[in-house]
Symmetry: D2
Subunit: 315 residues, 4 copies
């Protein structure tokens, strides 16, 4: 359709996508008096035959972003939310298969975890009730994320987490580095190593014919291996720790071929207490905000191709 | 000193205070291979005989804010950090008793909780080690706060928390309210009740002669009672739930005389799925950001005076 | 009504208030092709005879927060938005005079400024049009705020701003301060002075019989005097600058009796370049985040009483 | 060096980079009593022969992130800061040419604009001074950004801005779109169009032999054309407006070959005032937070290749 118009244009359209972002959906499932929550933030991005809406403003191929929002809420009822990944797969398949101009759908989801408020003690008798099963406290800690992309034939699922803050209070050193004329850093033989983990991992499930991973189990296991690798690595550099975190995941989870981490080195500087006649024996630290080291890398199963974008942070 | 100058001034100085805010101090205590963390954000505000620095810029009575920062770090070594409250008491006493012009010190502290990363499974054998005891993950969830004020003779300790997000997925109604010409709200007989708790509670410990409360134990117990009251109250209004949360604390914790809550009603609206031929049986909700209801109140032990400021939020 | 029940309660209700917070209202006024914007964030807090909703959950005295939201939008149409202050006065009067149980209304408003996008150059001919008068860019810079409180007989209006970041690159010193055993700071004879102004000023208009100030003109003039005082004061301490900023307002604006500032001292540290063989002649600075000095004070017209709360920051 | 070890690894290292992020540097230039500010946030990311630090923790090839920080501050003195782009070019060239293992350097810079505080009125006489030329107020509004990448032979410079909020109060429609079973949106013939512009543009300067663009002039002109295109486009969809914004830049600025925008459609919903007997004639709007439409596209000079990453937002 745009063949006629394009040759004359000195300015052409490249990659483009659109949709409704940050649809906040909370799904309550009632199993008698016991309730379950799924709390998601869903963003839809669609692309395909969309030249005309850019060139002339014709919306003839445009499913409104408002409709993509409605679909998110309707699907929460129609399909439930077994996992963020499963929910995103339903949505992506729908947009690509139901609208001819839409060739690719990318669904991004943030998930916020909740845990039950415990009420099973003497106080519960106060209301003469059994344990309450509909009361929750948001877990805090990391935000779980996933991105599902579907082009009508194959799937790409990249899951992960962000804002998980971890610290080793020992077993970290940093020395033996390059020294140039701008180097003033002193070598460290026992330092705090702390970071705010942003990680993404790509599943090798790409085809409806393959057995789908157990998304919930996978997340729990990846998180466990990642944290244990962080805790158990005697670290000579944050890069080494990062590599161990990724390798531990690849080695233990066959459903995952690629991992990328963006790890800020959240510096904790030992405070100089000597002016006050005090010795600071690795006890008192100043937690700095900025600047911070930023260590980023992809870890791959041998033979696999890297597909997670380099930038987990904004351009 | 300012007697001479004041009469001539058409503009006078009122309440004033100064100090270093947001000193981020992390204290590691090593009990052999087992480490413990205290992670605080400490703000110092001093007031007293400070007219001249405002009128003429003379700093003769001014202990620099940089010095108050140094003192925070030095005291972390000298006294350790048993609890945020105990640490704040050491600081406040020091400033008031060591500097004649300083008559009042107010120390505010935020505390971030950490929990251990568990490594006690088969994987630990990987490094042939016992369980790692120096690795932590930040707990997320609420930020614990405290404010200690000392004027040289008596103490005021107000502790609390913020950003604790809770939800009841049922047992909440809202009806029987006033209806005026601008009222369009439909009555609700089964709604989600969710809020982000900001709470403060004042201790009746005011004097060095009194037995000091166990600050850590008190916090844990107040938090438990507050959460249980939230969970166990069948709610006809958020005000009723708020009152129950405060009353449960007063009734169970004799060390506390006053509680104030600022509770945003984080609306979860039932999505209308009828246009899509679907029935929404209290399953699918839209979690709204703004506007939100904001319910605020003080709950007092009978006979006590309210001292917690009305505004937990900014003016 | 609550007389009977109160004596028996060991736990009583103190100050309380409720309403809808952060109602985002944008009002467009069309003067032919020339449009005008008012962009506000309005929060309503009502108090009065509200014991029962806390004690029993009875909403018989409760005008829903949803209704207060509707009223904000309806009043934007009915009264227009001449200024944030004038709009808040309409709202506060309405709630107190139309609902018997409501004795006090407090309206807080944030205002975001917009300026026109200039199109009056050759490019406009591209569309054969006169200058466009309906296109705006948000001004950024400070957020203007106001708080109107009405108890049925008298008014309190406190206006102000927040997040206005200013810097003097010279004419600031800091020396002659107290030195104790924790003092390490070096005296400074030419430093950067930067702060993020949070200021509030109270009008002496309290009565419908008085002539109402010109709110828009007053804001513009207060802001100008405050900025000029910041720029023109040769500063020996941030306290001195703060006092000058307040005094300049009181001396120039007869409608204002009280000013309070909360001024973080946003430290800009001269970077030590000597290790690299370079001299830093007050040229290269590191802008630090935390900690920061925090200087707060009230400035009063002589003979007036201070009413602005001490805490512009959260407890 | 890593040839021997690699074949045996089931897990390999992919793209990786490291450096110090968010170095806040403020440079004051004194031209007599007239001062000038450059206020930057500089992030360094280096990559090259870095396998060993990941595999074994050897830092033999690692220039510390602390050194990259020092270099930023030293270069601010050595080269000055003519523009963010020029400054980033100095830094990138240095890292790649001075350290053999470093093959690519990517410098990202945010720039915060300041404007002078005007003091040239009667009040200035108060201090018997000429106009003050060392006092500034931060401009607010957009943050200017740039990214410079150098691999030892060619340059890539992508500049842009974020957080520039714009609004058209009329001349926007949305109708003629696809309607499926989840579509409930009403067509709109006069709506508010508002967005928070995040834009990036790529320069065709890639080689030291080419004449370097005037970075400051270019930014100012791109911003002007972009704003005018936003203002002057009668919009049938945000996609159309986006295309016009990009095309206007490409058509007017020969130094730029590619533009990418990420434009949230910040919805302003007309409030239904009919329940209150009022007619809302495009006057009163509710400014919504989430969800929002998100429209993203690349605009290219014909014949050029797209290189700006699709994701200006985080994965």
């Amino acid at each position: 359709m745009t063949d006629n118009s394009r040759p004359a244009r000195p300015v052409i359209l490249g990659q483009n996508q659109y949709g409704k972002a940050e649809n906040r959906v909370v799904k309550i499932t009632r199993d008698g008096a016991t309730h379950h929550i799924k709390d998601l933030n869903v963003s839809v991005a669609l692309s395909g035959d969309m030249d005309e809406v850019h060139y002339s403003g014709s919306n003839a191929h445009v499913l409104p972003t408002d409709t993509t929002k409605n679909t998110v809420y309707a699907f929460a009822k129609e399909y439930g939310i077994e996992s963020a990944e499963q929910f995103g797969i339903h949505l992506a398949r729908h947009f690509v298969t139901s609208q001819e101009p839409i060739r690719t759908a990318r669904i991004r989801i943030e998930e916020y975890a909740w845990e039950r408020i415990e009420t099973s003690d003497a106080n519960s008798k106060f209301i003469g009730a059994d344990e309450v099963k509909h009361s929750f406290v948001r877990k805090g800690q990391e935000t779980r994320v996933t991105q599902i992309t579907y082009d009508g034939s194959s799937w790409e699922v990249i899951s992960g987490l962000k804002d998980l803050i971890v610290m080793n209070s020992t077993n970290s050193e940093f020395w033996g580095y390059v020294k140039d004329k701008y180097t003033t850093l002193q070598e460290a033989y026992d330092r705090i190593l702390a970071t705010q983990v942003s990680g993404r991992w790509r599943f090798n499930w790409t085809d409806d014919e393959q057995k789908m991973p157990n998304w919930e189990k996978s997340y729990e296991q990846v998180r466990k291996h990642m944290l244990q690798a962080f805790a158990e690595t005697y670290s000579l550099s944050l890069q080494q720790t990062l590599y161990q975190m990724g390798a531990r995941i690849i080695n233990n989870r066959s459903e995952i071929d690629e991992v990328r981490f963006s790890l800020p080195n959240k510096h904790h500087f030992l405070v100089d207490l000597e002016p006050f006649g005090l010795k600071n024996d690795n006890e008192v630290y100043y937690a700095a905000d900025r600047p911070y080291g930023l260590i980023e890398a992809t870890i791959l199963r041998d033979g696999c191709e890297a597909k997670i974008p380099v930038d987990l942070t904004n351009l």
